[in-house]
């Protein structure tokens, strides 16, 4: 069976996000004064093969921990969706 894991990786709260700060400033300069804060992160859409949801989730969790997120400054979360066949 095919799954899509949608992984979000964000900087931990309190960790400086230069990219978010700069985008926020740019938006306000463009006239979007209502913008308070911006934080920028990564989203990864991973197609994985696997029979069992729990097992797939465990593997994705492991991928996040080992490679996709840097636990020193980042945190992650993900959702697993079953792909329609074909």
């Amino acid at each position: 069976m095919m799954w899509e894991a949608c992984v979000q990786v964000m900087l931990k709260p309190g960790v400086l996000d230069p990219q978010g700060e700069t985008v926020g400033k740019a938006l306000r300069t463009l006239g979007y004064d209502e913008v308070q804060t911006v934080r920028v992160g990564k989203v990864l859409k991973i197609k994985v093969e696997g029979a069992d949801q729990a097992a797939v989730a465990a593997r994705v969790e492991e991928m996040c921990r080992r490679l996709l997120a840097n636990p020193v400054i980042e945190q992650y979360s993900f959702q697993l969706v079953k792909e329609s066949e074909g």
Binding site: L11, K12, G14, V15, L16, D17, P18, E21, T22, K25, N70, P71, V72, I73
Partner: protein
């Protein structure tokens, strides 16, 4: 329960000393300030008395140790500011950000002096690349330097990298920045002029890095590092770039009295140092410091190590103009206090006094220790090593091939190719050779720069190893035609609380000092990184020398690669049977052992003078230092870097070699020592055939041995020699080149 002082890393005696200074018990904030400023990282309390041995005076020294960077007079009314600094511990935790913020920090040290940063170098050490963690650290560090340095528009023009199992768990990341400043406009980190306003500019202050660099670098490094993780900071090179431009624009005015970057120990350090140096005082209100986070208390504001911030002391009455300049660059500038004359650092929060201590007591009255030193026992064993236990190999070609693919000797282009080494169009000798050369636009002059430090030699004989680090760095610079002018350094060691480590430390400094005196290169500054150990296992003593040299006429600059066929290859200096501590010996035995090569400083000077004279007379067409891997590897490198260009080229990395070489080494020595031994004070040069006598004459007058080895040409690297004069090496240059060129990428490219 821990005692009060223990919580901030101080001893009971140090606590008593604080009470004596204050005449009372410090409150928590005050104690925190002392804890930080009296940490090893900020106070140099274990190293100070040893560092005093360095010769730091010289005619050309405009600024010696004590300021944010040293400055050398390079003529044309210009000063060259330069400094080397470590970011080892942060990089061990988070390689990308650790290295990136390391660049950020050293660059701030340079423009704090009023200097326009012009180039970077990086000196790196990692564990061996068979371990995934070390590969991760290495590629992370390299991309961190690349990400930050490239964004600033600073060329990273050189550096070095070694891989050795002693750095497993303790990688070293030392970075060097160079800058140019008009001699009469050097800015000092001094808070003078009572009533002058004090500004903080740049990034807002957050909770990041509280107890970051300073505490991390002042403790043994172990599992508890895990809980220090939030201390890791994220660098913002874009902010730093704006900060550089804004500050340099500010220096064009006369609004600035003094400036200091906010590095380790943040505001605490910047305020107490600027006031301390000037013998003044300072008063500030933490409530005026722009914050990134809500609810920060005075302790957090004073100790935060948020990046990309500067402290600026401004002439009274110029506040608005100063604000305008920062505004233009989109930066915040907040007035947080003023200079006083009572010698006190007075901290308020919304007007309420929260700390009051003598400024200088934080910055330079930390206790100074002369702790016990003892020669380590392992030296008996390593120095007794006898090379005759190791049989001479059957053949030498496969050993040469193997050495050239060792990550310690292979081409470093996979690394420096990730750095923009050309931006600012001053780099006229690119990385890949001995030293990089930068032109000084608007003059005929240039600056050559190199970093060096072979820690294996230091491990086997720290005194000798320290001296060799200086000599080799000077030799590298000399190979470009530049006269060595001065050094900065970074001393990476284990815990100074261990007598054997401190003994090594002292020996290295003595060795370095001796070489600096002999070669006329004063020490203008540096940095100490202790506690580089994991689970009681210290790294090899690793001094890194950052040497700068001056070229009066850049059209005479010289590079390492052969310049086409038909040139005569000459060795300045002499070969000795010295395999101790060599890469070859490590590859053969898996051990760092033996005695390192000898260093005769008179010979060193003679060789360097000969090389300089030969280059400036226009005789020498290429010059390359014989270093790790010995003569055979040096000859191969001269082929790899060869070109047929007539003009002195900047030596483009990554080009296919143009010529081979044929040499014969007459010697009674065992051939592996002859080929791969790492004897010091040797430079391989080429000259036109008709110029050989003239070079020999220069060598004779300087007292340097000078031997014709052979001739460039063909497509092969051919070496005959040894007692029987047999064929030792006969290989196609392009084939050797391919494996040398691609070795690091194979290991790290994934």
């Amino acid at each position: 329960m821990a005692e009060r002082w223990e919580n901030v890393g101080l001893t009971a005696e140090e606590y008593d000393r604080i009470i004596t200074i204050l005449g009372r018990e410090p409150n928590d904030l005050e104690l925190g300030l002392y804890g930080l400023m009296w940490s090893e990282h900020c106070s140099y309390k274990h190293s100070k008395i040893h560092l005093a041995l360095f010769p730091s005076a010289g005619e050309a020294v405009l600024q010696g140790p004590g300021e944010n960077a040293g400055v050398l007079d390079i003529g044309n009314g210009l000063g060259l500011a330069f400094r080397l600094e470590s970011h080892n511990h942060p990089s061990a935790i988070e390689p990308y950000q650790g290295a990136a913020t390391g660049i950020g920090g050293i660059v701030r040290d340079i423009f704090t002096m009023g200097a326009r940063p012009i180039a970077l170098l990086d000196s790196l050490r990692f564990g061996t690349l068979d371990e995934p963690r070390n590969r991760y650290l290495c590629s992370g560090v390299v991309s961190g330097i690349s990400g930050y340095g490239n964004c600033l528009g600073l060329p990273t023009v050189g550096g070095e990298v070694y891989f050795d199992s002693c750095y497993r768990g303790n990688p070293l990341v030392n970075v060097l920045c160079l800058g140019l400043v008009p001699k009469d406009r050097i800015v000092r980190g001094q808070a003078t002029g009572v009533g002058n306003p004090v500004f903080i500019v740049g990034a807002r202050t957050g909770r990041d890095g509280i107890h970051g660099a300073s505490l991390l670098a002042s403790r043994e490094f172990d599992e508890s590092a895990e809980e220090m993780r939030p201390a890791v900071q994220v660098g913002d090179p874009f902010m730093e770039k704006l900060l550089i431009e804004a500050c340099l624009e500010l220096f064009e005015t006369d609004f600035v009295v003094g400036m200091n970057d906010l590095g380790a120990a943040g505001l605490t350090s910047a305020c107490s140092e600027t006031a301390g140096r000037a013998g003044s005082g300072m008063e500030l209100d933490v409530a005026l410091v722009p914050r990134r986070e809500e609810g920060m208390n005075p302790y957090e504001v004073m100790l935060s190590e948020s990046q990309e911030r500067m402290l600026v002391i401004v002439r009274q009455g110029c506040e608005d103009q100063v604000r305008q300049i920062f505004e233009k660059w989109g930066l915040e500038a907040a007035q947080i206090g003023r200079v006083t004359d009572d010698g006190l650092l007075r901290v308020r929060e919304n007007g309420r006094l929260v700390a009051e201590v003598p400024a200088a007591s934080l910055s330079d009255q930390a206790p100074v220790y002369d702790r016990p030193r003892r020669r380590p026992d392992y030296l008996d064993e390593t120095s007794a090593f006898d090379i005759d236990q190791i049989p001479v190999p059957e053949e030498y070609e496969s050993w040469l091939q193997r050495l050239l693919q060792s990550p310690n000797l292979a081409s470093k282009e996979w690394i420096f190719g990730q750095f923009d080494y050309m931006v600012r169009t001053n780099t006229i000798v690119y990385p890949g050779g001995d030293a990089a050369v930068l032109r000084i636009k608007g003059s005929e002059r240039g600056v050559a720069v190199s970093t060096d430090g072979n820690a294996r030699y230091c491990y086997l004989d720290p005194h000798l190893g320290g001296a060799i680090a200086v000599a080799e760095a000077a030799r590298n610079v000399v190979c470009t035609g530049a006269r060595p002018a001065g050094i900065t350094n970074c001393l990476n060691f284990g815990s100074p609380e261990r007598p054997d480590v401190l003994w090594q430390f002292r020996q290295v400094i003595e060795g370095m000092s001796e070489a600096c005196r002999a070669l006329g290169t004063p020490v203008t500054g540096g940095n100490v990184s202790f506690y580089n150990e994991t689970s009681g296992q210290a790294i090899h003593p690793t001094p890194v020398v950052g040497m700068v040299g001056l070229l009066d006429d850049i059209s005479k600059r010289c590079t390492a690669g052969f310049k086409g066929a038909g040139d005569v290859v000459v060795l300045l200096g002499s070969n000795r049977p010295e395999l101790g501590g060599s890469e070859y010996l490590v590859q053969r035995t898996g051990q760092v052992t033996g005695r390192p090569p000898r260093l005769d400083l008179d010979l060193e000077r003679a060789v360097q003078e000969t090389c300089l004279a030969g280059i400036s007379a226009g005789l020498i067409r290429s010059a390359h230092d014989c270093a790790e891997g010995g003569l055979a590897v040096a000859l191969a490198e001269c082929c790899f870097l060869s070109s047929t260009d007539d003009l002195a080229p900047p030596q483009l990395p990554g080009r296919t070699p143009a010529v081979g070489v044929q040499v014969s080494l007459r010697s009674e020595m065992r051939p592996d020592a002859l080929l791969f031994g790492e004897s010091q004070s040797r430079i391989l040069v080429t000259v036109k055939e008709e110029d050989v006598p003239q070079l020999e004459e220069i060598a004779r007058s300087n007292g340097a041995p000078c031997t014709v080895l052979g001739m460039t040409g063909g497509e092969r690297l051919m070496i005959t020699g040894g007692p029987a004069g047999q064929q030792l090496i006969d290989l196609l240059v392009t084939e050797l080149w391919q494996s040398w060129q691609s070795a690091l990428e194979k290991l790290l490219g994934e």
